[in-house]
Symmetry: C2
Subunit: 291 residues, 2 copies
């Protein structure tokens, strides 16, 4: 049986999985992200069990990463502020120990691919995760966007909500960028209440929906995708999707034509944050035939 590997290299945990030709999960494991050597060693140990059938592996990593083919540091996590992980040759380490074909992309790109492959007739899609931070993955014609590197859609500046002028935002780099104003920690910074405990009728949700709607607006006008998927912890608030749609319609004001709103702004089709795993299986499989 042919198997494909998925590695979600996150800042707090690694999720490793193997899947079959139908992109179904055969086995999955997770462990905390500690130091590079230790964590990558555990990764290698996991995949060694499957190495007779393993065809290829896709790695979806926290960033910034170098995913430019032909670059000297291709396959590296580069200038991350995460302790110990700066300048880590993740693909080099893995390939040395498990010599199969590798694909390397960002965590959000893999999620975007996962969401693409479970939907019919979609080859142009934007995926946002809105949780502790905000990130975005963009696919056009079945391939990632990116010139000299990957996008950082979470750090774009946005217009302030009139009721939010006094809030400086919590992004350590930019203060009041999208992530600084709309990721999970901004909720607690404004209200003193943990995000998941804030009641549904609190005015802060409208403020946050206004910012997320601007992310959707920017994705719409920059990439003209067929569909925009909103994932991450903040979107698990059952009332958020409706608020974001409503704010987005006001902001766009009919300027470009979009599909019916309920088909256009959607939650992930893959449950339990599993989009990246499916995406990785698909990318690993595709890489076999295109390399």
């Amino acid at each position: 049986m042919k198997l494909y590997g998925s590695i979600e290299a996150g800042g707090t945990k690694f999720v490793c999985a193997v899947g079959n030709d139908k992109l179904e999960i055969i086995d999955i494991i997770q462990f905390p992200t500690t130091k590079p050597k230790e964590t990558l060693e555990m990764t290698v140990n996991y995949f060694e069990r499957f190495k007779d059938n393993l065809q290829s592996v896709s790695v979806a990593s926290f960033g910034p990463i170098d995913m430019v083919r032909g670059s000297k540091t291709y396959g590296y996590i580069t200038s991350t502020p995460k302790l110990f992980w700066d300048n880590t040759n993740i693909i080099g380490f893995l390939k040395d120990r498990i010599p199969v074909i590798y694909y390397f992309t960002t965590d959000v790109n893999a999620s975007a691919f996962g969401e693409m492959v479970v939907r019919k007739d979609v080859d142009s899609l934007v995926y946002y995760t809105i949780g502790t931070g905000i990130g975005g993955g963009v696919i056009q014609s079945g391939h990632e966007i990116g010139g000299v590197g990957h996008g950082e859609l979470g750090h774009i500046y946005v217009a302030k909500h009139p009721a939010d002028y006094d809030f400086d935002g919590v992004c350590p780099f930019h203060g009041a960028c999208l992530e600084g104003l709309a990721a999970g920690p901004s909720l607690e910074a404004r209200t003193g209440i943990k995000g998941e405990l804030i009641p549904e009728n609190h005015p802060v949700w409208d403020i946050q929906a206004f910012y997320i709607a601007q992310a959707v607006m920017q994705a719409t006008l920059s990439f003209r995708p067929q569909i925009i998927v909103l994932g991450g912890g903040v979107m698990k608030q059952s009332h958020m999707l409706k608020r974001v749609k409503s704010e987005f319609i006001k902001l766009l004001n009919g300027y470009v034509s979009i599909p019916p709103i309920d088909d256009y702004i959607v939650l992930p089709a893959v449950d339990n944050n599993g989009s990246a795993t499916v995406g990785n299986f698909w990318l690993a499989k595709r890489k076999l035939t295109t390399d």
Copy 2:
């Protein structure tokens, strides 16, 4: 001699030109944009003189346009507010009368291609025009960005400058979007003085540079281009480029690595708004071999 045609279909004027294999202008003409039949008839008459040598034509049009291959209205100017031009089959009209191969794109995309081809080793570029309006063209790996249509980078929302909170912006669709806050007409709306007559030491220039720097920031984080070209009337103010660079460096705050700033944010390399003509010749020529 092989000739290639360029049509810049602008909202106020059409510029038609023929170029040779080296993308040099052999002949060029311009006339006002009136009604579709009249203006397109003048266009056809112009190119008929060259039809024995004309290989292909690229049309760079004001929008919105339908440039999605295979679409029912491919080659149309679609829902433009410009009187008479709504739903005009521009490529259909031209192809019927001058039956050569056509390429169809936006005015800003053609300018982006023109700026790409006159530079060495660039295949990922963003071109903004900042004038009466604001538009952007994006090239990645030598091809346009765009899922179900072309981008509208001028209508993205931006963070307000603290000294500009009371200004509502002049975009008829969005008020205080980028175009509403930073295109030429916003200068007169704020100051009561025509843009080109505002003295260099007027504080409004810093406000405008702050917004243009946000456009550069958005392009950087969304597309990660090798270079960003700023064209259009507003950038003809000799002091603007320096202001924009300075604001951009503050806004980006080192978050992603970019080339040296003077190589990264630049004015057009083609003089006299000629980028689109060069781009069209190149696109027309490329279309011959890829169609």
